[in-house]
Amino acid sequence: MFANLDFGVIVSSLPYLFGQGMVFTVTLTALAASMGVVLGTLLAILRLSGVPGVSHLAKGYVELMRSLPLVLVIFWFYFLVPYIGAWVVRSPTPIQVGAFASALVTFTLFEAAFFAEIMRAGIQSIPKGQTAAALALGMTRAQVMRTVVLPQAFRNMLPLLLTQTIILFQDTSLVYVLSLTDFLGAASKVAQRDGRLVEMYLFAAVVYFLICFTASSLVRRLHSRVAIIR
């Protein structure tokens, strides 16, 4: 059944697949992950703040995002962000933000909910005595969080944060619904153009597998390295 397959199409489309598709995928993943971690950490702190309204709002946001399919959120923001933007800058017409910006905002906000849960677990894993000791030295709550709790929480949770980023790396392929060309989108376009669906989708699967499997193995090795000796 594989007799009439032509793998030459892969070689000829490599510059397009990687030069454009993969660059897009990696860029979106890196930006959304770093911004998502920052926002997620903020959400985790708010949720653990114990301030009634704030804490519930953060919890509600996290629960909402985690309960919706990602594709739905991508659509939602694609149609909503222009109107929100218009409302923010008081413009009478919807703001053109472009598909990439829309995707970036979506992935950041969506992943932040997952990063928030990871960071919440990380913050809670730091013994109460650490906070007590830092407070006893005269530090403010903000200083304690910044210099004592978060650095330890972040280190403890680094493997989980990276694993979540690997999932994000795969999820970015959903941007095809916005007609954006990520790695899978690029492979798909070549596949349709040349009628080489099996070859291209096989190749895409192999690339995703190799990258994610290698990254996961590295994360596992990192896990034993970064653990703080107690």
Partner: protein
């Protein structure tokens, strides 16, 4: 009225506790700058403090004073509220009734700048609580820089100076996890002293240590007491109490049952509960 923190001649120390420090040993000179002698003025005034966890009362009408230069040992069975009481002094634990005044500043007062108050009250914990992600030097300098605003150079000088005084100069670049429990606790004491506190609180500083490391920590505390530091110490180490305490407070079920001078406490404890406690703790 003046009381001098000199150990009584009748103070026998348990065998092995007099062992000299390992490592490079305590260096000569006081741990803290010399202070004016005890004035009898209250450093910590605890006045009718009561505390509840929900409907469970953990502290009942506790009243006592720690004068400047005085060493007060707080003892009692576990669950008697002694750790809770000492944590109320620097507001790590809130309390519902009564008032505590530290060097003239009210602890339970909205106008009080708690971080500022706490920076003047050193505290040493049962589980050391060094920051495991920071080197020993950074542990010693973090609060000096962030809270007191000292320059990194000044903070490091002060920190390393105190590290030498507790005999651990060689370990400045290590991380807490690489040190033994006794060494970690000595670093924790140095970290608290680096803030130049006016009073030191110790919350069972030797309870989490292996027996062979208790001595090295107590040695540092004895040194500190002899230098004139005002200290409030929750501990079961009766040898330490006999050696340097001016007064002993005995707590049971959230109440201060006995508040006596050292000689009275060890000589003739008045309450049956204290007598019972002492007979159990001193019998082995």
């Amino acid at each position: 009225m003046t009381s001098t923190p000199i150990p009584g001649p009748d103070a026998p120390t348990p065998a092995g506790r007099e062992a000299t420090l390992p490592d490079d040993g305590l260096q000569q000179g006081p741990l803290i700058p010399p202070r004016t002698a005890t004035t009898g003025e209250p450093m910590i005034a605890i006045n009718a403090v009561s505390k509840w966890y929900g409907s469970f009362q953990v502290l009942t009408d506790c009243t006592t004073t720690v004068s400047k230069g005085e060493v007060v040992v707080v003892c009692g069975p576990s669950g008697s509220g002694k750790s809770t009481l000492i944590k109320c002094v620097n507001a790590l634990e809130p309390f519902q009734e009564g008032q505590i005044t530290v060097d003239g500043t009210k602890v339970k007062d909205r106008a009080t700048n708690l971080p500022k108050l706490r920076s003047r009250v050193g505290m040493v914990f049962q589980h050391f609580e060094l920051f495991p992600h920071l080197s020993i030097t950074d542990n010693l300098t973090l609060a000096q820089r962030k809270v007191l605003g000292r320059s990194p150079a000044d903070a490091e000088k002060r920190g390393l100076d105190l590290l030498a005084r507790v005999g651990l100069s060689d370990h400045a670049k290590k991380y807490p996890g690489q040190l033994s429990g006794g060494q970690q606790q000595r670093v924790a004491i140095a970290r608290a002293l680096a803030m130049d506190p006016v009073v030191m609180l110790f919350d069972e500083p030797t309870s989490a240590l292996d027996p062979e490391m208790v001595g090295e920590v107590l040695d540092v505390m004895v040194e500190l007491a002899r230098d004139g530091m005002t200290m409030m110490v929750v501990t079961h180490e009766m040898g330490f109490a006999r050696k340097v305490a001016d007064r002993v407070i005995f707590m049971d079920r959230g109440e201060i049952v006995e508040d006596a001078t050292k000689s009275d406490f060890f000589g003739q404890p008045r309450s049956p509960r204290a007598q019972h406690f002492l007979s159990k703790i001193l019998s082995h």
